[in-house]
Amino acid sequence: MKNFEERKAEIFRRSEERIKERKAKRNHILVVCITFCFILTILSVTILPAVFPTETDSFVSVDITGVDDNGARTETVTDSAKVNEIYSAILNLYKTSDAGTSLGGNNTQEGGAIKGDSYGSESSGTKNDGNSLVILDIDIKKEYRICFNTADGSEIQFVLRKNILCNTENDTRIRLSKKQIEELLVILN
């Protein structure tokens, strides 16, 4: 058996050893965590946007065509920030429109003209019941065709006529309030 001093020395030696081990383990865990966070950051900043590109980033330009009695006038916006702003605004309109105002339809678009749409023939100020369209008395002289172009050549087109905004790709139409139309027009102009 050890004498008193030997025991004491052994106790302190083991304690130091265990404290060192614990520190090393803690540092190891810390290093692993930091590395993991670093990898996550790199992944989220660089790789994930490449793997899952957001729709707004994929648009390179938007053609805004205003049609009125004097003909059509197209303005092309290539500023990505502005393109994103317009797209976000339109997306928000779709998101905020409740089920009652979102209008499903089976109209199709051909050659830029909307066929079979009921709202084209309606005059300003008329109202229909149920799921039919309600035309507000808003002073929109033009029909707006908003065409988002992607880098690979595909496009998504929206048509704003009276108070109806229509996604011609899937023929989803929503009814806009006066305020929404005004806000959208501000962004478009």
């Binding site: 004491k8 052994e10 302190f12 083991r14 614990r22």
Partner: protein, 183 residues
């Protein structure tokens, strides 16, 4: 007499010499207690050293709710049981050598058991079951209360009570007429 708690408090406050006091007061008893489990004085000493180093490594694990002695004995018991569980290699000792295998054990016994009465009981303890031996050791040799012994052995008060009753009964049989006087 707080069984080392105040010394440990002094040690935590930075007084290194307080640790010596704790060691002088409790180390031999702890080794002797652990030896009840492992039946190997050197292993018991090693385990006791480990238990003491735990006091330094995990300074704030001991919460002063029990006496330091009880806490150390709890650590010692737990480590001793771990040692038994993980002991894979058993040193085989020649029978002739076995009697004098650990002369240190006798020295330690003399150090811890200063009382002749305790030595007689200690000699009889080897005939009891492990639990009985431990409970007698804690209550009669280490002067722990039933509550403290229960904490060390991870049993309840009633179990300790029953164990002691049965242990004393068996000891009386083993020790004969002398036992009546000793117990």
């Amino acid at each position: 007499m707080d069984n080392g708690a105040s010394s440990y408090r002094r040690f935590l406050d930075g007084d290194e010499s307080a640790f010596d006091d704790i060691m002088k007061e409790l180390f031999d008893n702890l080794v002797f207690f652990i030896n009840r489990y492992v039946h190997d004085i050197h292993a018991a000493e090693d385990i006791a050293i480990d238990a003491f180093s735990d006091l330094i490594v995990n300074k704030h694990r001991y919460n002063f709710k029990v006496t330091l002695k009880t806490y150390l004995f709890m650590l010692g018991r737990s480590r001793a049981l771990n040692y038994i569980k993980h002991r894979k290699v058993i040193d085989l000792v020649e029978l002739e050598e076995a009697d004098n295998a650990f002369p240190e054990e006798e020295t330690l016994e003399e150090t811890v058991l200063t009382d002749e009465r305790k030595r007689v009981i200690n000699n009889a303890l080897c005939l009891l079951s492990d639990d009985m031996r431990i409970v007698i050791h804690l209550v009669y040799f280490e002067n722990l209360s039933y509550k403290e012994a229960a904490r060390v052995m991870k049993k309840n008060h009633k179990q300790i009570d029953n164990l002691l009753y049965r242990a004393k009964k068996e000891l009386r049989i083993i020790l004969g007429e002398d036992g009546e006087l000793l117990l």
